[in-house]
Amino acid sequence: MFHTPPQRFARGAAASAALCCALATAPAAAAPQDPRQDPALRVELQYIEALNAAGMPDFADLVLKDVQARWPEAKALLKTKALEQVLSLGRFDEAEKIIRAEKDQDAPETWAMKLLSADYRFSRGQYPEALGAYQAFFKKYAGKPPAALVSAYAQNYYKFVQMLLFLHREAEAAAAYEAMLKLPDLENETRRQAQFEWAQLLVKMAEDVKPDKNGKPTKERTDKLDKADKAVQALLWEQDLWFGRGVALLAHIRALRGKPEEARDIVNTYMEQLVSIDRQLQEQGEEQGVDLMGLSPIAESRYLVGTILADEADSMFDKSKGGLSAADEEKAVGIYDEALTELVNVYVQYPGFAWAVDAMDRVEAIERRLDTLGYEVESNITPEQRAKVATKQFANAASLYHQNQFEKAIQSFESVLKNYPQVVPDSIQGLGLLVQSYVELAEGLDNAEDAQFRKLEAEVVASGMAERFAMSGRDGVVKAGDTLRALSAFFADHGMPDAARRAMDDFFRLYPTHPVAADALLAEAAKAYRGDPPDYAEAARLYTVLAENYTSSQRSVDALRYLGDCYAKLGDSAAEITARSNYVARLEKDDKPSSALLHARYSLTRAHKNAALDRLRAATSAWDDIRRGVAPAPATPTPAEDGAPADQDSKEAAPEEGKSPADAALEELVAANRAVAECTESYVELIKTLAGKDRAMFESNAKEKQANNNLLLASLFDAASCYSSLNQPTAQLPLFKKRAIQMYETVVKLFPKNDNMPQVYLQLGTLYSTLPGEGAEAEANAKKATEWFDALSKDYPDSEQARNALYRQGKALLDLGYRTQGLAKFKEMISSPSGKYTAQQLANAADEIFAAKDYALAEQGYAAALSRAEPEETSLRARIAFGRARILVAQEKLPEARAALEAFVKDNPRSASVIEANELICEVCLKAATAEKDRAARTDLFKGAIAAVQALRPYKTAPRDAVDLQLRIGSIMEAQAAAETEMGDKATADDLLRKAAGHYQTLVLSADLSDMSLRQGQEKIFARAVRTLAATKVYNDGTPVWEDVKDLCERYLEYFPQGPSATEVRKTLGEANSNLAVGG
């Protein structure tokens, strides 16, 4: 039965601060110009208070510094504020400096500052320091404070006692109460309160003392109760609140001494006075507009009597082993009835009473017992009365929280919430404060594990509250949602970012109908999107929640739009397309379309376009790889579905069965082109809408009109880009280019001042210059091209595009067969002053000149490019080196070419040109070898050729390519044999021919004839094996070859009966049979 009257314990350090202010300002009040009268200073102080109240003490501190500088005459007034500011920021060392700077460390003002600091330290858990300061204060004045400090002394003593109680140091607190009561000038009111509380504390301590081993009360307990009894009796000479409470306490003491009848007698004896006090409290409360009934001695007394009666009845039932007799049961039930009367009246009449909830609990326990005994209990308690109790009890618990009594607050909240778990708004607020109590308590705990557990409890309760009230009606949803958001900020402020995140996630997920939920979620997602750095994945997640859970809000539509943007940033084109499709579908449902719908359609088309162009690039690259490699294209290539001509670069016949890599690559290329073509159709639809009369439907103001203009421009650009990118079917390429030209020319006409004009001019010049045609048409196109290029140079001379124009003109002229003019353009580029063109641009020019076969000019171009290339531009330098090597090949400077190519391969093993370089090495070596007179040199050249082919193995790993390489090696061997024959060295030639035959036979032995894709190559191997073996006639050891030749021929005819060499093989078979017949 112990609790602290809230009004006497000042939260934080308000009392000390007030004391400091009083002491600090007393002298200043007499000054002629009192700064407190300055309205501007008052405003500043109000501002500081507001900042502190908003939890921004750092800004309050800044303002205070400005105020101190502006009003130096208010230094005394501001000293306490300054100290308080510093303390509120936890800067205790700084606070100590301020205090130590005071001249007189024993002056009352200085002590006031020290105690203010102690109060803040206490609130931050620095208990030893705080208590030490108080103890030093009491020691200093040893019960005899100066006149100015008398009331402050008593106040501080009282606070000191409360601190000890908070720390559960009850014995010290009791001693402190006793010392306080000895103070000579203690005000009567304070004395009586302290006396009562001291007695109350002694009673609690007595209750905690365990009985001795015989179950009897110990001397310690008895002594405490005696002391308390005496203290309380001294209160009964004066009728006031403490008289009333004293009566209840005295009755309690008698009950504890095992004299319940005495306890009831005391209450009955003083009931008239208690009723009078009760009435006075009611009147006073009405006058002051506050509820003081929680302090009523009637409540305490009736609670005491009710619990004594309930205990008595419980004891009767508990002690009877075989059940009570009928008479005894009737008696016990009668006692319960009396107890119920007392206890119900406690919580109904005095809902703010500290033990009202306990009274309710006891009532419920009695009702349950009576129920098991078969008795029906009628309850006249209305829901409104119960609700009133709930409100009062929650308020009591909240006040404990605000007094920083977190442990008690937790107990109180848990008790109240057990009975009132779903009262709106009280339970919600109670749960919110309970969560905060857990966290605040955790921060004061030394044991890390305990602290963590408390924080976990906080999170669990927060999450539980979120779920419980998610469907609790409008008021509940608003209150719970607001509480969740506040808890999120609270968690963030207390270093629990994950908990803060979870609370907000719960809010967004569970409270979509909260008035600010959609806006808050949109703002949160926008913050993630625009953050530094941006978090697109998080933004996408939040937008998804908004789109899926807030379908009745307009914000969900906005979310769909932004979701597409997020996925675009994340590079997830599939998800982007889905999101944008959903957005378009949603907008199409609106009664009145707007420019937003057109923009959405554009964004969706653009997403498709980006994905399609990526696909086309990959397909084109794969197709180019196939073409550059040795892999054969189909012999009868399948025309594309739209009638495109067959691929003209195929060199080998189609495989007999299955899809070759080339077929697959071509199929993909066609499909990718189709995807891009579909995008162009969508763009064309959009352009028709934006350029047609229907456009007016989609714009209702100037802003929308401008937006649609921008869309039209963008659509024209994108459509032109798509048309330019298409590369299948090849027969339609001119048509595609014309359409692209049409788009760009429309841009020029409709948007003459747009920022991308240089690019438009360049594209037009390029497109015109590459349009195929003959005669007059070609001339007209070339003229158009020149006009656009000239316009580019004239109108936008400094643009990037203008700088590339010369290159593009040169290339276009070469492509059209205007070689001299084309080369002249490139020469102009190469001869230009240093710095006008980059190394890259010059290398491009040199490549084109090489293709035009002006090798001397190409060499100049490469030299110019090399002179401008930076050392770190390694791939460009490699490209230039390769280009120069190719020039040597073309000029038939074979030894130099071989050396340059081999050096290139050695220096640039990862270059994409390594394959081509090795091919060229092979070609060069073979060419040189056939003309080489010196045998050693000739042999070296053939070896070089074979080495170059073998060097291709890592790049041509497909089985078909491997067969092809082996065939090439065989060919080189045969060529070497032929060269030796040419040079007149038959012996060497025969030897080499045998080696070639042996090479082919090895391949025959390892041939996998089940792989139909290799049939073509294997047929060649067999045919060559037959031919070369038959040509050798005998092995090294002189053995005739005809048996093996016959075998080979028969096998060839078995596997390849219709093969290209079948006739020749039959002929050889005949020859072999003939030789075998004659014993060869």
Partner: protein
């Protein structure tokens, strides 16, 4: 100073140098006195107002009052006020005729607002300066003042602007004082002094001008941005939370979405 009828002629003669003849007005003086109906004239030479009141006897009583003694002035609306709203010349004329008679600053406010909407900040400054010459207080304590400050901010004239804002922050008209704090925040923000912009500008609007919703909403938005810049996310969230919950329909809350 109370005068009888004869000196009125002198007063009227003196009035020849003022731009406008007497205008009907109501005054509240600093000493608490209220003058319900009077004819008011500004005397530029004396730099005082001539207040003519009809006594119960029917006699016209005149006196001269210092501008600082007038707490509140309500002058009858000019006849051509409504028609002049979109006519800069007409507004300038009203400003001239009603120098020191309330409608000079009202005209200045409309004129400056219109010019700012057309991105003509310099012209707005010039117009306001003209009015300021005749009525210095209009530059820091009138409906024209916030528009004048915005124009000065746009033209980068932060020197004179800062002084005016400091005075404006002390105006008894809370809407003017709030605007002064907000603009002060903007000036400091442009100088990359986010901390000062909050302390001396935006947070003042938020905490000291709770009954100025338009200014407060803007201040909450800008405070949140400044806190983001200073990497104080919990403070920024506090500002955004208040903006969304208390001013959800304002354009500043829209900007958050």
């Amino acid at each position: 100073m109370t005068t009888l009828r004869t000196p009125i002629l002198l007063a009227i003669a003196l009035c020849a140098v003022s731009a406008r003849a007497d205008v009907p007005a109501r005054l509240r003086l600093a000493d608490g006195t209220a003058i319900g109906q009077c004819m008011l004239r500004w005397l530029p030479v004396d730099k005082k107002y001539n207040v003519a009141v009809k006594a119960q006897s029917g006699q016209i009583v005149e006196r001269m009052i210092d501008p600082d003694d007038i707490l509140q002035m309500q002058v009858a609306k000019p006849k051509n006020w409504d028609a002049s709203q979109k006519n800069p010349q007409a507004l300038l004329q009203i400003a001239n005729e009603y120098k020191m008679l309330q409608w000079d600053s009202e005209a200045g406010a409309v004129l400056a607002r219109g010019l700012l909407a057309q991105n003509k900040a310099k012209a707005a400054v010039e117009a306001c300066k003209k009015i300021e010459q005749g009525n210095p207080r209009a530059a820091w304590d009138s409906p024209m003042a916030p528009e004048y400050w915005r124009a000065l901010l746009e033209t980068g004239a932060t020197g004179p602007l800062t002084k005016l804002l400091d005075k404006g922050a002390q105006s008894q008209d809370l809407s003017v004082a709030a605007a002064a704090c907000l603009l002060r925040g903007d000036v400091l923000e442009r100088q990359d002094r986010a901390n000062d912009a909050l302390k001396d500008g935006y947070l003042r609007c938020v905490f000291l001008f709770q009954n100025q919703p338009a200014v407060r909403a803007e201040a909450l938005y800008k405070a949140a941005q400044a806190f983001d810049k200073l990497r104080k996310p919990s403070y920024a969230e506090k500002m955004r939370g208040i903006l969304l919950s208390q001013y959800g329909n304002s354009p500043w809350a829209q900007k958050l979405r």
